[in-house]
Amino acid sequence: MMINAQKLGKNTIKTFRYLTGYYELLCYFIKNIRLLHKAPIRAVLYKQVYFTGIEALSKVALIGVLIGIVIITQIVNIAGSNAVLIGKILVWTVVRELGPLLAAIIIIARSGTAIASELGSMKVSGETDSLRIMGINPVEYLLIPRIAGITISVFILTFYFQITAIAGGLGFTSIVRELPFVQHLKVIFSALSLFEISVSLTKSLVFGLLISTVSCYQGFSVKSSITEIPQAATRAVMQSLFLVFIFDGIITLISFA
């Protein structure tokens, strides 16, 4: 019992330390976002958007189409070919929930681990020290463009996922089930309000900031041992997932409750 209480206390302190670290890094990013106008930092930002956003487009499109097919098939099975109901459920699931959430999960799996490992190995091999010696602040040069790049990528991929899920799902079912594609698309657009879109995009921005801050913080917390790198990558993934789900719940409650 004593040991459990001790362990619980240690874990609470550790969690608190991480949360404080994430908050500080996020504040640092917001305070120094203007540094993105510096050409070398902007070059890192472009690379990050390319690796995290553009290279993931095909995977996101494929997953989007598959999810769209699954959702529409289930709706048609339950509710028949009621265009209004299909449109509304599709907007509720894909635009409100699955779009931001799945885009975030794909980026956590694809880029969260990559960033934590990359930054961790840069720390271990002394590359961050090399930057300092050149008079370059490694937090400014490495973290600010990564946080901005991932946030932009989540934002874009969420939008892209929603389009492919809706278009792909409707396209597939209109061929297989002979449902009128254009009629369903019109219903979806009429069911889609500016509020739904802004909540979805707010979620994607928040998720992007969370994933990037956690991954960068964990990668940068590696000190000198190579064995710390996989541990940091695992923590980056698990804590990003937790935070994304928690904030998804909070935003949904605030917006729709």
């Binding site: 840069m122 090399s130 010696i133 050149m134 008079g135 602040n137």
Partner: protein, 213 residues
């Protein structure tokens, strides 16, 4: 230029010395570990347990991070492993500090970098190929050479060399000694500091003072 005042760490007990402007110094340490610690303290990466370290009359132990960045844009350092950034190609590595501090890569900088490579006797056709490579698989002498050219492009007043002549073939070592000597004498008032535990590797360097720790 550099002043150590009663610096005390695990390896050093009240270490004090001063390196004058416009001079070449060899500092011979007793081990790799001591070498690393001295270099880290000199480059502001580690703080001593006790004592103070001054570069350009500014106390490294009390300067905030931003000021350290400004200060080290005036210092060049060539590390034993070259100090390359692994995800940047060789050319991006070379121009990074100039680009970061001046905001642009002028034609002059490009010419100067090529000229420095030519001074080493490197084949110009290989140079083009080298610039597009990632530094990871390059041999250590090339990494050190690239590190030297990168540091020299900012025309620093103070250049610090970390055991870069160790473990090289005599020809390669000679080339590096020659280019570092040319760089030192290329501008009046320049200071060069060679730190190494291997005195033999810096025998070919003409220094004003040799400091044995």
């Amino acid at each position: 230029m550099i002043r150590f005042e009663n610096v005390t760490t695990k390896n050093f007990d009240s270490l004090s010395f001063e390196i004058e402007k416009a001079s070449a110094y060899k500092i011979i340490t007793n081990s790799d570990y001591e070498n690393r610690e001295l270099l880290n303290i000199m480059l502001g990466l580690e703080k001593p347990e006790y004592g103070r370290v001054f570069i350009f009359n500014e106390d490294l132990c009390t300067l905030p991070e931003k000021e350290l960045g400004r200060l080290f844009s005036r210092v060049g350092a060539v590390l034993i492993d070259g100090g390359m950034i692994s995800n940047l190609k060789v050319w991006e590595n070379i121009v990074l500090p100039v680009w970061y501090h001046s905001g642009k890569i002028s034609e002059d900088i490009e010419k100067k970098a090529i000229q420095r490579f030519e001074e080493t006797g490197m084949d110009i056709s290989y140079l083009g190929e080298l610039m597009g490579k990632l530094p990871g698989p390059l041999p250590v002498h090339e990494k050190r050479l690239i590190g030297f050219i990168r540091a020299s492009l900012l025309e620093p007043e103070l250049m610090i060399y970390d055991s870069i002549f160790e473990g090289l073939s005599p020809e390669m070592s000679e080339t590096l000694i020659r280019v570092s000597g040319t760089f030192h004498s290329g501008k009046a008032g320049r200071t060069s500091v060679y730190i190494t535990p291997d005195e033999q590797s810096v025998e070919g360097i003409k220094a004003d003072t040799v400091l044995r720790l």
